[in-house]
């Protein structure tokens, strides 16, 4: 999704990690972790794609950072189930999983929630994406991170931890239920009066933005990586102007 649709999320992740002083490598051969097929029940289709992912990332050392709690959860929490009849592969999956982090988790764990001190004049609210919250365990950390951005006015979103209704293939397969759940989310979003909604998973971003656009709302939904990177760019451009 990030590679082919929201490429700016990937570029932003790249920029943030570089800003933190890291050498960042993008494995050109990567495609997908296999989650879409796995979540739809098609494990025999997901398995080779997951195995490809494992083999690819075994070739490099160091932490693997993904700007998605959902993909991180797939590798860390569900590869074990996917390879439950193949203990050797399950073990290799576990080892890759131990090096794999979601972006905000990686930043808050190794650099602290105050590591990014950018600047962005806007008003925003934060939606807690389900897999980042419940599978990876990032709750208030991303909000703390955002509150360190100079000029960004954060408003609390009511029921921020309730699902937006995306759920991958569920959003198409059970479109009416997915939309009913989304509607409730969008009502709470519009009630905040914020200009932007920040979320940490591209799927949820599409779901909420797609719904807001259809409502004719001007509220923008942006990925947290984009916000953090933009806030850093603003500091750099101010500095170079001075």
């Amino acid at each position: 999704m990030v590679d082919q649709v929201s490429t700016s999320v990937g570029e932003s992740t790249f920029d943030i990690l570089k800003h933190l002083g890291l050498t960042v490598d993008f494995l050109d051969d990567q495609t997908c972790c296999g989650q879409p097929a796995f979540n739809s029940g098609f494990r025999s289709e997901a398995r080779p794609v997951a195995a490809r992912f494992i083999k690819l990332f075994e070739q490099v050392n160091g932490p693997i950072v993904v700007p998605s709690g959902s993909c991180a959860a797939m590798v860390r929490n569900y590869y074990g189930d996917l390879f439950r009849d193949d203990p050797q592969m399950a073990e290799r999956a576990k080892q890759v999983g131990e090096r794999l982090f979601e972006l905000t988790e990686f930043i808050s764990r190794y650099f602290g929630v105050d590591a990014i001190t950018g600047k962005l004049n806007d008003s925003a609210t934060y939606h807690k994406c389900c897999h980042l919250l419940r599978e990876i365990g990032m709750n208030e950390e991303p909000i703390e991170m955002l509150s360190n951005i100079d000029g960004l006015k954060m408003t609390t979103l009511e029921r921020a931890d309730v699902c937006c209704g995306f759920g991958g293939a569920f959003s198409v397969k059970m479109s009416d239920i997915s939309s009913a759940i989304l509607d409730e989310k969008l009502d709470f979003i519009e009630a905040t009066g914020a200009n932007i909604v920040i979320a940490a998973d591209s799927g949820c971003v599409f779901q909420m933005q797609g719904g807001l656009r259809r409502r004719g709302s001007s509220v923008q939904v942006v990925h947290i990586a984009e916000v953090l990177a933009k806030s850093l760019r603003n500091v750099i451009s101010t500095e170079s102007a001075e």
Binding site: Q4, S6, G41, G165, G168, I177, G210, G211, R213
Partner: protein
Amino acid sequence: MKPLTLNFRNKAAETMGDKQVQQSLEHVYTGFFKGRLEAAGDTPEWEELRDKGKAIKDHTIAHLDYYLGMLADNVEKNGGSVYFAENADEARQHIIDLAHARNIKTIIKSKSMVSEEMALAESLNDEGFETVETDLGEYIIQLAGETPYHLIAPAVHKSRLEVAELLDDNYKSGDRVPDATELTMMAREKLRGVFARADMSVTGVNFAVAESGSIALVTNEGNGRMSTTVPRVHVAVMGMEKIVPSIQDLSTMLRILIRSATGQRISTYVTMVNGARASDEEEGPEEFHLVIMNNGRQNLLADPQLRESLNCIRCGACLNACPVYRKVGGHAYGWVYPGPIGSIVTPVMTGLKDAHNLPAASSLCGACLDACPVKINIPRMLLELRHRTAEGSADTAERTSSKAERGIWKLWRAGMMGRKRFDLGARLSWLLLRPMAKNGWLKKTPPPISRWTSTRDFPIMASSSLRSKLSKRTKKAKS
């Protein structure tokens, strides 16, 4: 109860279009969900209690034969009878036979989901016994001729106005503002007479204690206590998993059950029954019968991937937490147990083929696992059932996926197995969709994505992939 699981989509759509029911379902979140959060927050050892509860249930289910034997022995020692029913038909027939043999006229029921599996109240009425539900919610549902909407709040979908119309024969819409207290008093008056003349009761069992042969009932209206003391015959029905080894375990389970169900620290009544009246006692029923039902639970027990669902204590917390349940309501699930836990036990107990939509009806948000007092990993089991509907396990009769669906995922795999194909697929989609897009978004798309665009705009691919953007950057940096 006859499963209507095949009807999931229609019933869900109907409920989502019903403004009044949607409003009633709000209470599931604002009342029950928030109540549980508050009660858990006020209990410093909450997480330890959950772990303890899980350990108790894991242990009991792993040694279920042993504890069922112990329970049966002790119930009989206390002077009661025990009947093991293989299925709902056997259980129902046993209870009907008991009633006929004792010339019973009036039967009062206290709330029991297991009795719903047997459609017991309806069957007993058909047999000629006056049978009345005594839990207020169940009573309302019985008057409406419906089935429970929620594990602990059977009439949660009913508005006060509807309840007034059901309870008050003289009620005329718009006559007066229906008042909850007044309506409850009205039901109470009607039920008092039934309690007085009842000669048999059927109750559920929240927990059966193996070491003492006792059963525990959790109620808020006192109807459980009336049912277990007034009539001369007491029949208790339970699923075979509703058992704890000891009284100490019971105390742990009660603490997590009640907090998770209603957010109360303790329910108004907790009734313990050790069987019928002893020879030196003056009050209580003359007979006590315990009916322990299998009805497909053996299938869950024999299934290592789904066995954990037998740990469920029917508190309803996963329903309250579930964004899908809060939209589609309880009846959409088509059988006795709605919500996330229902989406696991219903397919196994009634057949996955008809119930294939149940495990699919989840965004996998994980709120159910978070809410479960015994930490049942519901999302994991939903994924397991999806796997069976998609690809079939040992028994291919489970497979309900269409040929087209299987084809799509095969194609998907092919696209993901090589970077060149991956890029090519994305570029082709971009070329195809770009003419229809405005500012990178689509209003209309061909199937199956048309299901998305019926309510939401859809994003198109970026003009080039992240890989090519990053490699351009690197080249720029080098030059």
